[in-house]
């Protein structure tokens, strides 16, 4: 059973987006913490822009 994380038990349920175990070595890997940090910083940045300029 190599269908990735959706192979939990016999029943499989997937989200709308499916992720498999297989990953290409060429792919750009992003650390989840980087994504979270970017989200927060982006939000703060936009808020600051709105507060200073508008």
């Amino acid at each position: 059973m190599s269908s990735g994380q959706n192979s939990g038990g016999l029943m499989s349920s997937a989200g709308l987006v499916r992720y498999f175990d297989a990953e290409d070595r060429n792919a750009i890997a992003i650390n989840p913490k980087t994504v979270m940090a970017f989200c927060v910083l982006f939000g703060v940045f936009i808020q600051l822009l709105s507060l200073t300029i508008a």
Binding site: G8, E23, I28, I30, I53
Partner: protein, 486 residues
């Protein structure tokens, strides 16, 4: 050369969130999930820079299932993910992609294609929102102050919406890989629950009073119901401000979904080698879950989306659509708009000015769409997510189990599965469609819409099951092998 070789260099290079290398403790998983949820709520509260006003919501009533927030960075919500999923489901379900998802090479391509599609659809959704009509009106004063003009500030808004859409995709990936459940599910629950809680506990200071505030007013006498035991009194109790009907519908949907989750056909299994080791394979009534329903609704949402864009650009012929206050009141776009609330159809109480035959046509189209669409998408869903007869037969075979009384052979098991899975899937899909329309017609607390409620209850139930499974594995590390995880 097939499309695969041509697209490979692009698809394999799509950025991915790294996968955890080892086992993540359950608490860490919860922390990731909570973190993403926190960031999601944070971003829905950040207003886009450069807006003149929040504008009118192009998603309208679909907002509750598409998550996000009008005028915020998360403007598009999970809309692009759902739309891209529809495309993939239809292509995959009709087997036009030629991708075998059990082959690692094709898995990479599938993931890449999926991500590329979402990104393209995000741009396609964001563009008309920003550049057409008053959905996200840009503030020319800011553009002039910055020296980039109106178009420049529109581009800045577009960039923010686009980045927000991509961030949702990556947040979903984080939850799927590092957390519990899926991000899409989490965002739907978050959006619907927020509305539901608002519908119950809100008070007039926050806008419309919620259920409890209304009843506090009714009991203390500050809200008038009309003369006791007259038809006006009963109407006030059932509809606004009593909302008893909405309360009953909401409770009913909860009960039906939780009950239906446990309705299943169980196929007995026994181990081929170990005598006495028995198991059961459950074919659930809501087998394909409620998720395909969101695809049907998104299809309807996209039709309305088109209507809104055309309406904002030109005047269209009357057979196509006549709009009043941004809502279709007749023509094609009226009939294809789903019934979202009691205001859309209860002509006998004076909620709408539409002719009864128009309302009946609209209800009939909505019902057909949901029931037939629900069944079709459920079938595609089952096929593409590896829950179909062939895939499950292979899984049972690989786990060393067999159906007692039948030869131990994948084809034989598949034959048995074919007796149940397709039928149960179609019935389940149609039932969910029917429930969603019914709930919308009767109204729900906080106007969360039928499918919003269905989705939330069933996703929460799935989440509960998953958490229970996680905890079991946490307590007994041996179980991890049994559940097939490293």
């Amino acid at each position: 050369m097939s499309w695969k070789e041509a697209a490979e260099p692009v698809l394999t290079r799509m950025p991915v969130v790294t996968r955890p290398t080892g086992h993540i403790p359950f608490k860490r998983k919860l922390a990731w999930t909570a973190g993403v949820l926190f960031v999601y709520f944070f971003l829905t509260n950040i207003t886009l820079f450069g807006l003149e006003s929040t504008g009118s919501d192009i998603f309208g009533q679909f907002r509750s299932i598409l998550a996000g927030e009008q005028g915020s960075i998360l403007q598009v919500g999970i809309g692009p993910i759902v739309t891209a999923s529809i495309v993939l489901q239809l292509l995959g379900g009709a087997n036009l992609l030629g991708l075998d998802t059990s082959d690692p090479r094709d898995q990479v391509l599938y993931q890449g294609l999926q991500k590329l599609l979402v990104i393209v659809v995000t741009a396609m959704t964001a563009a008309p929102m920003v550049f057409a009509g008053g959905f996200l009106p840009a503030n020319p004063a800011i553009g002039n102050a910055l020296g980039i003009g109106l178009f420049g500030i529109q581009m800045v808004i577009f960039a923010q919406v686009f980045i927000g859409g991509v961030l949702i995709l990556f947040m979903d990936e984080i939850v799927s890989k590092w957390g519990v459940g899926s991000g899409v599910g989490l965002f739907i629950i978050a959006a619907v629950s927020q509305q539901l809680v608002g519908g119950f506990f809100s008070w007039s200071g926050l806008g419309t009073p919620g259920f409890f505030a209304s009843w506090f007013g009714i009991i203390t006498g500050s809200v008038e119901l009309g003369p006791t035991f007259t038809s006006e009194w009963f109407q006030s109790l059932l509809f606004s401000p009593g909302e008893l009907l909405a309360l009953v519908t909401t409770a009913l949907i909860f009960a039906v979904v939780v009950y239906a989750e446990s309705v299943r056909v169980e196929i007995p299994l026994s181990h081929a080698r170990v005598k006495g080791a028995r198991g059961r394979f459950p074919v659930k009534l809501i087998y394909a879950s409620v998720l395909p329903m969101i695809l049907v609704r998104a299809l309807q949402a996209n039709i309305q989306f088109f209507g809104q864009i055309i309406n904002s650009q030109t005047t269209m012929p009357t057979w196509l659509g006549v709009y009043a206050d941004g809502q279709p009141v007749s023509g094609f776009f009226y009939y294809f708009a789903p019934i979202q609330s009691r205001q859309d159809w209860m002509w006998f109480l004076g909620f709408t000015n539409a002719e009864p035959w128009m309302i009946f046509t609209r209800v009939a189209i909505d019902l057909t769409f949901m029931v037939v669409g629900g069944a079709i998408f459920a079938i595609f869903w089952v096929e593409t997510t590896g829950m179909g007869p062939e895939a499950t037969a292979r899984q049972i075979q690989n786990s060393g189990m067999q159906i007692p009384g039948f030869r131990r052979n994948p084809q034989v098991v598949e034959k048995v599965m074919e007796r149940y899975i397709p039928q149960v899937t179609v019935i389940g899909g149609a039932l969910v469609g029917l429930l969603a329309v019914l709930a919308n017609m009767l109204g729900t607390i906080g106007n969360v819409t039928g499918e919003g409620l269905l989705l939330t209850v069933s996703i929460t139930y799935k989440l509960y099951e998953e958490i229970a499974e996680e905890q079991l594995m946490e307590m007994h590390p041996m179980m991890r092998q049994m559940f097939g995880r490293e």
